[in-house]
């Protein structure tokens, strides 16, 4: 098993929490993992990405080659497009449909969605709405993780719930419950698609 994943979004949206939960899940399953991320100036409201690689065999590079990503997981639709050259021909994109507009020249949404929909394997989800519906409005990132988990070869949803318990545990039961609820809602929504 080998899966290369690009996590994308805007600084502050919570992509690193997604990466951390997957990391714990990978540890539990005895997989190799490498996860490269960018800190510092690039975080200040700019685009943020993380390369996450999982494998049953040792992994060499910390970054994914272009044309090799099995998945692009994005909390923002235009940010999903930024990494399309990394996507493998048979790879999937799972993206939030809600734009994060903090630049003056954000392209028209129709053209963003049109480009996304021209690609062969795209799942687009309004994760903000699902998070709200699940009563966990700040859990959009966990909704997206839930939706993504169905495409990851790391085991069933319980493995990820364990990861959520581990990373949010010190923030209290309530936070854990809200994040698991968001995760479950995302998982259910992907099953529907």
């Amino acid at each position: 098993m080998k899966q290369d994943i690009i996590l994308a979004g805007v600084g502050g949206q919570g992509i690193l929490s997604i990466a951390t939960v997957i990391g714990f899940a990978a540890l539990e399953q005895g997989l190799y993992l490498k996860q490269a991320e960018v800190h510092g100036m690039s975080q200040r409201g700019g685009d943020v990405q993380s390369h996450l690689r999982l494998s049953t065999e040792p992994i060499h590079s910390d970054i994914i080659p272009r044309g090799a990503a099995d998945l692009i997981v994005s909390l923002e639709p235009m940010e999903a497009l930024r990494y399309v050259p990394y996507l493998a021909p048979g790879g999937w994109i799972i993206t939030n449909t809600v734009p994060f507009v903090n630049i003056p020249d954000y392209p028209p949404m129709e053209s963003v969605m049109a480009e996304l929909n021209r690609l062969p394997h795209v799942i687009s989800i309004d994760v903000d709405a699902i998070a709200k519906e699940a009563g966990s409005p700040r859990g959009a990132n966990m909704v997206l993780l839930g939706a993504t988990s169905a495409l990851l070869d790391i085991g069933g949803p319980e493995v990820f719930r364990n990861g959520i318990r581990r990373i949010f545990g010190r923030k209290g039961e309530e936070v854990v419950a809200a994040n698991i609820k968001a995760f479950d809602a995302g998982f259910a929504s992907a099953k529907q698609q």
């Binding site: 991320e37 700019g46 272009r66 399309v84 050259p85 480009e115």
Partner: protein, 532 residues
Amino acid sequence: MADKQLLLGDEAVALGALHAGLSGVYAYPGTPSTEITEYIQGHPLAAERHVHDAWSSNEKTAMEAALGMSYAGKRALVCMKHVGMNVCADPLMGSAMTGANGGLVVAACDDPSMHSSQNEQDSRFWGTFGMMPVFEPSNQQEAYEMTRAAFDYSEENGIPVIMRLTTRMAHSRAFVTPSDTIRVQNELHYPAHPKRWVTLPVNARVRNRELIQLYAKCEADAAASKLNSMVDGPDHSLGVVACGIAYNYLMENFPDGCPYPVLKVSQYPFPRKLALKLAEMVPTILVLEEGQPLVENMLRGVFPTQTKVIGRIDNTVVRDGELSPDEVRKALGLPALPTFAPSQVLAPRPPALCQGCGHRDFYTALNNVLKKDYPTARVFSDIGCYTLGYMAPFNAIHTCVEMGASFTMAQGAAYSGTWPSVGVLGDSTFTHSGMTGLLDAVNANADVVLCISDNLTTAMTGGQDSAGTGRIEAICAGIGVDPAHIRTIIPLPKNYPDMEKVIREEIEYHGVSVIVCRRECIQTARRHAKQK
């Protein structure tokens, strides 16, 4: 065996240092090095062992504190980003002359591609320059093990060791299995060669000769080290020298093993003996190294040889920027993988000052004054979040060179006849290297307006302590600025009229003015609110 831990490269260095018996860590925050010190500060073993830690005023003071601890026989770590090495160059070069007593490791984190930096300088050059060994891990497990080895090597040979990381090593996570054995900390003990530590010419001349010999021994050690390994391959049409993480990008392209002989390098001085061995096997050597072409330059002579060396200099490998599996693939002559075309509608999303940030209100008020009434004004700034004042809609600064340059460049420009000449830096940069420049301004009675946009933290790197918090005005007064011209304002939209009045008054005063513009960073303010 101890449990596997998911660690950043930075954290693996930190854990390696703790397990090597560290007694003190000193640093100035800088991407991508900050997490080394933060990890140690948060680790229970550091608390249990009373490992001393400090965010120093700057990299020079950090290096000197570590050298002092090494003098006293204990193990010390200094951490900084690559440009911090310039700031601490004086004690760094001096530390090769004094040598180390307790193990001394200097962690230098380079940022090729300048994700969050102003240049691409390669810290391995300091090793050649100062005659110090450099260790360069290629994965997180190595980062842990090599940090431990670096402390031992430093102590055994009485020489500081530079640990060189690059962004993708520092800021990438993988599982690390730590060793079961945790070394004890050193007891206080003073140098066996006390003369070395007083670098008067009479002593320094002696030590310099010893150091030259030691550096030759270090190269012999590097040639014999298991950190530098040669693996043969069936295809002898090419040989590869792969340094640090470049090795990973090479192997990524050969999942079934590299067909060419490979010299993997993680310990410097570069082992020339091993390169000669490689040259006996192959006609052409490809050098893959992250950063500047240090090894390539060394192998590439002036005179014709039978061995052809290829790499960044002849553009076989991309000349600047960080390496990647794709760039290495290209250099190996392998076809690119098929990809989807890049998006046609994509817009760049550059970093920006946070909404609600005090720097925004400061720049708005400054622009309201300068752009309206003082079109000849020049604004000199430097390194910090406030550098983002360069971006639209502010377009508020004209220069950014290095930490602290704002105050001193503003003076030089003022002496040239520029008026108004305005300097802008942050509180942490002020105490890092702006204070001495302020003293120059006072001594010369320069006609400058020097602004400290004080957010009570080192914000850009995530909110570390700022050395002068709560004492900025007192420091300025102590340096000799006339207290009548040390003005404090609170950057908020409702205060624009007051802020603009103060800025105008200080421009019209023909001497040294300091405007302290103070409001807490909104990121740390949010964190503090949550903690309550």
